[in-house]
Amino acid sequence: MEVLERVAFYVMAVLAVISALLVVVNRNPVASAMSLVGAFLAVAGLYLTLNATFLSAIQVLVYAGAIMVLFLFVIMLLNLEREPFDLPGIGRIAGFGLSVALLFSLISLALGAVARPETSARGGSGAEIGDVFFSDYLFPFEMASLLLLVAMVGVIVVARRRKPEEEEEEQA
């Protein structure tokens, strides 16, 4: 059992890191997007190893399902080509350096953390999360729904195609 858990964790972790790297490295946006799906699924797996079953399901549904589809739609819509390769400039070198620095500093921060005993009273099942949401966190829950509504309206307003006369008016 112990070993299985360990294997599951390492597999998922390696999968997540590799997929993430692929996202960054692939010059074709579609390939990047597909790698991102992999990364999301791997994270969902990590959630499973943490016993956060409901979250894991949501991760697959929302990220791997909805968000990624959205990304793909947009990529198709914009009809993007491969990003051409060009020599790294000062900004990129600095970016790379900074990222590495970030990596090491974060890892050293993580390694310095003390592992507390895992004494969670409740698990991550849907029922338990429902309890929390419909009692203590009702307000944030409602706010989240409101946020999604507002975002929806906003998206429609921002992304819709304007009629020519409207555009003229805006420019004037």
């Binding site: 979250l55 959205l70 990003e83 390694l111 991550g124």
Partner: protein, 100 residues
């Protein structure tokens, strides 16, 4: 024994990769994906930490975060579409309209 520290390390690596992607890629969409990666790593830390306290609550936090991310992606992609209409490019280095 897998401890929370291991999760932290994985999250750190994911976060750094996200930062790397954001800094190195010019395609706005890919940069945006990198941001999602970073969000995911943050969520991972949240849930892993919650194991020591109350997993249900931690999951609830993470869920709200997911909802926000969903909203954000929606708006962000809409802006990208609008921008593309305006400039016919998704190259972040060419989109500098907000310079002072």
């Amino acid at each position: 024994m897998i401890t929370v520290v291991d999760y932290y390390v994985v999250a750190s690596i994911l976060f750094a990769i996200g930062a790397l992607g954001f800094l190195l890629r010019k395609n706005v969409l890919v940069m945006f994906m990198s941001v999602e990666l970073m969000l995911n790593s943050a969520n991972l830390v949240l849930v892993a930490s919650a194991k020591s306290f109350d997993l249900a609550r931690g999951s609830a936090f993470a869920l709200v975060s997911v909802a926000v991310a969903a909203a954000e992606v929606g708006v962000g992609l809409a802006i990208i579409i609008a921008l593309f209409r305006l400039k016919a490019t998704v190259d972040a280095e060419e989109i500098t309209n907000l310079r002072g």
